[in-house]
């Protein structure tokens, strides 16, 4: 299976955008090589600013630059960009409705060996509470490129959550990302599996395992967490007997939280949320960590069967 880097897709797309539009400005906080904003920095140095290790200052500065008419991308690891600087994101960016696109990399357990301090398991929950903020969690490099283009083209704040590791290619060149629209990767009428980011691959594996025992599971990539695609969720709520969600994030307030809020109030259905349950991560390879914390295709399939046996 072909695996591609989401970060590289981000850097390359930034460069294309920057070459076409002089309003594009990119900021980083001493992680340009990791976030891959370096691809932009090397070619368009006069519109790249390395803010050094000062994430608070970077986020508010990004807002100030944007208020002069620029389209500003600011990057760091998710744990810093959403957690460490939450108040700056809230006040400087969202409350001002500044045209800033926060692109966080190294999300969740997928960070791997760096361990708990660098594994953001709360960033979606935090960003989801902010008015004006839109949140995209791309599932592969193709979707990353289109999400970044979408964010640049639309006025206002965005948070795009990328992984450190390369992800299996889900989409071909014919894919068209649309903000606020879930992508139906596989139709089915027994159960609905909803996934984001690196977990989309596991959702597809779970659906295959279920198909082997005659259970047709639908698989949705809910890459836009905010605004939520209520229409598609309602369609699958009526069509299938329940939902299993999987995310490399806390089980509280992320993808599962968004589903629980929406379904609970609009079309209650059984829901099993798979993610990291109220604990910090630890060091290990991403796959070892996913097994350790139960973020596996087997667990998704088991949760689906449990709902169907109810």
């Amino acid at each position: 299976m072909v695996k591609e880097s989401l970060r590289a897709a981000y850097g390359k797309t930034l460069l294309q955008l920057g070459q076409a539009d002089k309003r594009i400005v990119v900021l980083d906080a001493d992680l340009a090589k990791s976030t891959q904003t370096i691809i932009f920095a090397k070619e368009i140095s006069d519109r790249f600013i390395d803010m050094g290790l000062a994430e608070q200052d970077m986020v508010s500065t990004a807002a100030g630059i944007a208020l002069t008419g620029k389209i500003v991308f600011a990057s760091s690891f998710c744990v810093f960009l959403a957690g460490r600087v939450f108040d700056q994101v809230r006040q400087s960016i969202c409350y001002n409705n500044a045209n800033v696109k926060l692109v966080g990399t190294h999300s969740g357990l997928g960070v791997g060996e760096d361990g708990a301090t660098h594994q953001s398991l709360e960033d979606i929950a935090l960003m989801r509470t902010l008015p004006n903020m839109r949140i995209i969690v791309p599932a592969d490099a193709v979707e990353t490129a289109q999400a970044v283009q979408c964010a640049a083209a639309m006025e206002g704040p965005f948070f795009i959550r990328l992984t450190r590791g390369n992800l299996a290619t889900v989409y071909d060149g014919g894919y068209r990302f649309a903000l606020g629209r879930a992508s139906v990767l596989k139709d089915g009428d027994a159960i609905t599996i909803v996934a984001i980011g690196a977990m989309v691959e596991k959702a597809l594996q779970a659906a295959e395992a279920l198909a082997a025992s005659g259970i047709t599971a639908a698989v949705l990539n809910l890459s836009t967490i905010k605004p939520l695609d209520g229409e598609t969720l309602l369609r699958f709520a009526r069509k299938t007997r329940g939902f299993v969600s999987i995310e490399d994030h806390s089980t509280r307030g992320g993808l599962g939280g968004a589903l629980a809020e929406f379904l609970g109030q609009n079309c209650p259905r059984p829901l099993r949320i798979i993610g990291v349950e109220d604990q910090f991560g630890r060091s290990g390879t991403p796959e070892d960590l996913y097994r350790h914390f139960g973020l596996t295709a087997d667990r998704v399939a088991a949760a689906a069967r449990a709902i169907l046996q109810q």
Binding site: V25, Q56, V59, S60, T61, A63, Q91
Partner: protein, 274 residues
Amino acid sequence: MKQRELERLAEIARKARVAIVRMTAAAGSGHPGGSLSAVEILTYLYFKELRLDPADPQKAGRDRFVLSKGHGAPALYAILALRGFFPEEILTRLRKIDSPLQGHPHRLDIPGVEASTGSLGQGLSIANGMAMGYRMSGATGRVYALIGDGESQEGQIWEAAMTAGFHKLSNLCVFLDYNNLQIDGRVSDIKDIAPIRAKWEAFNWNVEEIDGHDFRAIERAVRRARRQTQMPTMIVARTVKGKGISFMENRVEFHGLAPTQEELVTALRDLSDG
């Protein structure tokens, strides 16, 4: 500065102070002390220095002012109204449910407000960003900001100080409203920010120290700031919290306490507006 010009600015400052005490008294809450200490600075900027057009508040390339100490909102509102950005009548609707004038300024609600501020430490970074954005565009607009002395205890101020100094943002001029009072007491007792000149100089800023209520001193400092080509300027303005109102001057209680109706009468008498 000629005597007649001095008198013109002094009269605007007096009117601004009248508006500040009237609006905070009407609101029954707000921050009069740190608004009154900044009146001459704002008066000078909006009536003598900033190139802007109240009829076209979003005009491209305009000079900009960011009130980093957002709780000084009553002073900014008074000055913006006097300058013609919105009608003076709405000033007495400060902090009311149906008013655009929130306790801290929101740029999307009020013409002339360049940035929503209130969570301290962020406005200076925003001003830096504006100065950088202008420089990238080749715009000649200058960026001004006002920070507080208590606010100078925020770590982000020093991140921003390093950024502006390193990037030689000579199109940036910042005032420090140094009244030496914060909510819990004297700045010098809580967590002293002295020596302040040495700090800003160490971050590669041009530093001016002035009496923040002296229009001629403000003018000289702003002119020196405009002549800089390699450094941003910090104007350390020694001010009096509650300036102009007998019972408020240097009284820490009036950081976040509005005058009562009785006190308003005294305040207006102090301002020869009774």
